[in-house]
Structures are given as structure tokens and as C-alpha cells.
């Protein structure tokens, strides 16, 4: 099933990318080509083969529960696009009343 322009627009919303119109067209064709090529994995991945998410077999990794100094707030906020009163200042996250 080819990937339609509307599918690309939906994915872009999920990925928080405000893609321009020409990018949607260009990407629809390219994604379709790539997805068709990578669908090859379905040829060999039979039922019963366990998935590998990670090449090192390890469980939870713990450290001793000892406090360590963290970065000073000034050092972290120095890279912020906007800061106020020792906090990140962000655009509104809730809709207007």
C-alpha cells in the first residue's frame, strides 16, 4: 500500500515537524521507496525467533544509593533559549480560556 500525502502529514504531526507542502510530496515518494525496500525483513523473520533489542544481554544496572553533586542551575540555564527566576521559560502549554 503506497504511502499517501495524508499519511506523511499525520506522521509529521506525531513527530512535531511543521513540514512544508513541497517536503510532504517529496517525502511521500521517498518514504514509500525506503519502506518497500526495508520490508524485506518480513521474508525471513519467522514466528518463534526472539527479538533482539540490544546486543549486550543485561538486566537492570544499579549503583550504590549515594548522592553526588549535580550541575549548578546557572550552568544548565546558560544554554536555555529563555530563562526566568532560575527556571526554563517556555511558551504556553495550555489553550487560552
Amino acid at each position: 500500500m503506497p504511502i499517501a500525502r495524508e499519511d506523511v502529514a499525520h506522521l509529521a504531526r506525531l513527530a512535531r515537524l511543521a513540514l512544508a507542502d513541497d517536503e510532504l510530496d517529496h517525502l511521500a515518494a521517498q518514504l514509500d521507496q525506503i519502506i518497500t525496500a526495508v520490508a524485506r525483513v518480513q521474508e525471513v523473520a519467522a514466528d518463534g525467533i526472539p527479538p533482539t533489542s540490544h546486543s549486550v544481554p543485561m538486566q537492570n544496572v544499579f549503583r550504590d544509593d549515594v548522592t553526588e553533586p549535580c550541575l549548578p542551575a546557572e550552568a544548565v540555564l546558560a544554554a536555555a533559549p529563555a530563562a526566568e527566576q532560575q527556571r526554563f521559560r517556555v511558551p504556553r502549554i495550555l489553550a487560552e480560556e
Binding site: L31, P50, V56, P91
Partner: protein, 499 residues
């Protein structure tokens, strides 16, 4: 400026500095001079930190004068990929979204290099967030191949490779997610190693695909790569996927350079149609040479390797779409369109649209697709099963042989611009390198001569069992010594792009 210094190996520079025949300060000045002379043509660096480098070199000289012990690479300059955080230099990952970012902390790799007395010359160019095989995806323009300035130096660690092949630095550090150290090493005529996954720390390495990303060395000789590998590797409690086991004896292996009695497996799946004839010719000669040096040859089929590329281009974009969600315009980096009327979500979407380049967007979209409900099982799930099959292929092969070999790349360096808007053609550059990333096995590319059809370097890839990284260096050093003896001078003497 003594041009002799910039042609020296890291091992010889470190020995000269330790013996007092050379000062770290003069070694650093020689390399800064070389950068000054060639950088406008090769564009290896995004940022050169001359003052910090001079101070680091002076500290090494002072340490020596005071009779304090020096690290194995003390005073040796290095080109660091701009994907590792550095407190005293910008870290951009080749992206406009991080243009000018000053990280508040050093990566573990950065810290280990500093503690070993390595002199960081600056940060090198790369494909944006390490996604690419040519450095053409850098927001700051491509680097060029010192063998031929019209061609790519490979990628994504192409800036580090161009710096080392262009004699701007004897050592470079890169990261390898699908071949991003080995492929640039191959096309620039260098040695480039991807250690066992987890052997080198990812703390402070800006994440692309966390289950695959592996820092590793780039150098002009096998011994230099081994010396750098040893400085970089080791357990890091700050990286939960860091392997807590001793670093394999890679330096000793590089010095030993003896492969008599070793069984070398040739992977037929990584050969044939689509490979440049000159690449296959040099590879075949190198394999014969290994046999004449005492290795036993054997063909070993790894049937699922041919599915590696497909699995990789589902797994890596999936992880990238998740990892790059952190670029949300709120806490660091670029913020666009925040005019007081727009919501956080709108600002986020506008910033990411403007701050990411075409390939990064393509991969975020691909990963979002592969992980979305209704497609997850058919794509991401299946790719993870293929990952198991490839790991099993490696395990079965290493019951029969000590190492596997293949060409590192299907072709030599391609012209700048040739594949930039043809993603599938670009992805093919990683065809041979991807299996070792999916399984976590260590692998290394070592030069095996120049392709007879275009005169450009060809790399031979060696792959070894997990945590047997030392075998890579044993085989590579034996091949390097035999080829150097036959040629009579270093391979890089033939690189004329910057002559």
C-alpha cells in the same frame, strides 16, 4: 613549520615527547599550522580550539619537566567528532538546531582523552546527528577527501577521517552506528575501529541510535588506532550499557602482528554484484596475502547478513525518532517562532522543521512510521528478529573461524553530490559494516591498497567475536606490515588532493 612532525605517527610523537626530543607545544603548533594551511580546502573542522590546545600542550610539557608520569598519548593532538560534549568548545552535531550550543559537561570520552594528556585540536565535521555516509548532511557544508577534493571523505565521521588523512591530526575519534568510523576510514586510506558495543562509553555522546552507537578510533597506523582504543575503552558507571570487563590487549596485539595459525573466514554474502571490481580485486589480493602470512582461509556463509541493511534502516530510524524528541526547543538549542502568540507545541514543530536537515527529518519520519500502531509488528518487530538471526550467524561463524573478513565498502569514495538526494544509494555505503553494529561485534577497517580502476583507497574489514577486539588489531597489523613492506613507503604518501 616543520612538516616532518605532522607526518609522524602518534606512537612516535608520544615517544618523542616522553623522551624530551620533542615538546608537546611544538607538536601542537605544527598541527595548528597544517590546519591553517589546508583547512579552507578540506573543511575537516567545525571548530578549532587553538588556545585550549596550546594550554593542554603546555600542561604536558610542564608535567614532564616536573618529572611526573605521562599518559601513553600525552601531548599527541587529536581531532574529536563534534558529537561528544565538550565544556570548553561548542558541540553542534553538524546541526543548525545545536548551532552555538555550549554543553555544561564533558563526555566520558572527552574526559578520558584529556586525562591521558591528549591535546584536543577542535571538533570535526559530521553528517547531522551522525546520519549519513558522506558529511554532505552537515548543516555547515561537506568535508572533502584528501585523496581527491571532489569526492566525499565518507561519513558520518568524515571530518575526523579527513583531518587524519590530511595530516591535520595524527588521531581522530569517531562514532560508528552503521559504519560511520569504518566507512570513512576505508575511503580515506585509514585504520578505523568499532570496538565491541558497550566497550567505549556513550555518556556525553549525543544519541542517534542508542543500541548501536559506538565510539572508536581513527588513525594512520594500526598501532596508533590500538593506542587510542586503549585510552578510550573501559567501564563507565555513568553509561548503563557499558560493559564491565577488562579492555582486551589491543596494543599488545598490534605489536605482535602475527597471524600464523589463525583461521580467517570469508563471507560470500559480502561480495559480488554491486561491488566495484577494483575493490574486489584488492580485497582478494589481501586475503591471499593473509594466507601467505600463515593464516588458514575458509569460506563461511552468513545468510542473514543480506538482510542487515533492511533491519538497520528500521531499527536506527526508530531509535532516532525517539532520541531526537529531546530537541523540543525548551531547555537548550534553537527556538523559533516564540512570539508570544504560539503554543509550546507550535514552537516545537516550527523549531524542528527549521533546525533539522532533510536526512534527519527523513529518518525521524521513517522511525515514526515503523513504530506507529498497526505497523510496529510488521516493521520494527520483524527487524528485531532479523537482528537475532544476524547475531546467530556471527556466533555460528565464530565456532569455525577466529575472524571474518570482507571489503569495508562496496565502492571507493564517491563524488560529492552524487547520492545526496538518493537515500537508498547512500545507504548502500554501509552494506558491509551494518551486521557488526546489529550484533555488537567488534570490527575494524584497514587499508588494503588502491583500487586499480580509480586509484582510490580500499578498506578490508575484519570482524571478531564480542570482546575479542585484540584479534582485529593482530590481523590488521600483520596485513599493514606486509603491504608497507611491499610498497616501501606509507600509503598516505599517494594522497595528492592537498599536495
Amino acid at each position: 613549520m616543520d612538516s616532518g612532525i605532522v607526518r609522524m605517527s602518534a606512537a612516535d610523537l608520544a615517544a618523542g615527547i616522553a623522551a624530551g626530543d620533542l615538546s608537546a607545544a611544538e607538536v601542537t603548533e605544527a598541527h595548528l599550522g597544517r590546519i591553517e594551511a589546508v583547512e579552507d580546502r578540506v573543511h575537516s573542522f567545525l571548530h578549532v580550539s587553538a588556545e585550549q590546545a596550546r594550554r593542554a600542550a603546555q600542561a604536558v610539557d610542564a608535567q614532564r619537566a616536573a618529572g611526573e608520569p605521562l599518559g601513553p598519548l600525552a601531548g599527541v593532538p587529536l581531532a574529536l567528532k563534534d558529537v561528544f560534549t565538550t565544556m570548553d568548545m561548542p558541540t553542534t552535531c553538524g546541526s543548525a538546531i545545536l548551532d552555538g550550543w555550549r554543553p555544561p559537561y564533558d563526555a566520558t570520552i572527552t574526559r578520558r582523552l584529556r586525562e591521558a594528556g591528549v591535546v584536543l585540536l577542535g571538533k570535526t565535521n559530521m553528517d547531522e546527528f551522525a546520519m549519513g555516509s558522506s558529511t554532505e548532511n552537515s548543516a555547515f557544508g561537506p568535508s572533502r577527501n584528501p585523496w581527491d577534493l571532489a569526492r566525499v571523505p565518507g561519513g558520518s565521521s568524515g571530518g575526523s577521517a579527513a583531518a587524519v588523512a590530511g595530516f591535520e591530526a595524527p588521531l581522530g575519534v569517531g562514532t560508528d552506528t552503521g559504519g560511520s568510523i569504518r566507512q570513512p576510514a576505508a575511503v580515506c586510506g585509514l585504520v578505523g575501529g568499532k570496538p565491541t558495543y558497550g566497550a567505549t562509553s556513550r555518556y556525553g555522546l549525543v544519541a542517534f541510535a542508542s543500541s548501536l552507537d559506538t565510539p572508536g578510533p581513527l588513525a594512520r597506523t594500526v598501532l596508533d588506532a590500538a593506542l587510542l582504543h586503549e585510552v578510550m575503552a573501559g567501564h563507565d558507571p555513568r553509561d548503563s550499557t557499558s560493559v564491565d570487563s577488562p579492555v582486551p590487549p589491543v596494543v599488545a596485539a598490534a605489536r605482535q602482528a602475527d597471524i600464523s595459525g589463525l583461521t580467517v573466514g570469508i563471507v560470500p554474502e559480502l561480495s559480488g554484484e554491486g561491488y566495484q571490481p577494483g575493490v574486489l580485486a584488492r580485497f582478494a589480493e589481501a586475503v591471499e596475502l593473509l594466507e601467505s602470512l600463515g593464516a588458514k582461509l575458509m569460506e563461511v556463509s552468513c545468510p542473514h547478513f543480506t538482510y542487515g541493511l533492511a533491519a538497520y534502516y528500521l531499527i536506527a530510524p526508530s531509535e532516532c525518532s525517539s532520541n531526537l524528541a529531546r530537541f523540543d526547543a525548551m531547555r537548550f538549542g534553537l527556538r523559533c517562532g516564540d512570539d508570544g502568540t504560539r503554543s509550546a507545541e507550535e514552537v516545537m514543530s516550527l523549531t524542528r522543521e527549521s533546525g533539522f536537515g532533510a536526512e534527519v527529518k527523513r529518518r525521524i519520519m521513517l522511525g515514526t512510521y515503523a513504530l506507529s500502531s498497526g505497523y510496529y509488528d510488521a516493521y520494527y518487530g520483524k527487524a528485531q528478529q532479523v537482528r537475532t538471526l544476524i547475531t546467530r550467524d556471527f556466533q555460528a561463524a565464530f565456532e569455525q573461524v577466529d575472524v571474518l573478513v570482507s571489503p569495508t565498502t562496496p565502492t571507493t569514495a564517491f563524488p560529492i553530490g552524487e547520492r545526496v538526494d538518493d537515500p537508498m544509494a547512500m545507504y548502500l555505503a554501509d552494506l558491509c559494516t551494518i551486521p557488526a553494529n546489529l550484533s555488537g561485534n567488534p570490527a575494524l577497517s584497514v587499508p588494503c591498497g588502491l583500487s586499480p580502476d580509480d586509484g582510490l583507497p580500499v578498506g578490508l574489514q575484519i570482524m571478531a567475536p564480542v570482546l575479542a577486539d585484540d584479534r582485529l588489531y593482530r590481523v590488521a597489523a600483520a596485513l599493514e606490515a606486509a603491504l608497507d613492506r611491499r610498497r616501501g613507503y606509507p600509503l598516505l604518501d599517494d594522497a595528492k588532493g592537498l599536495a
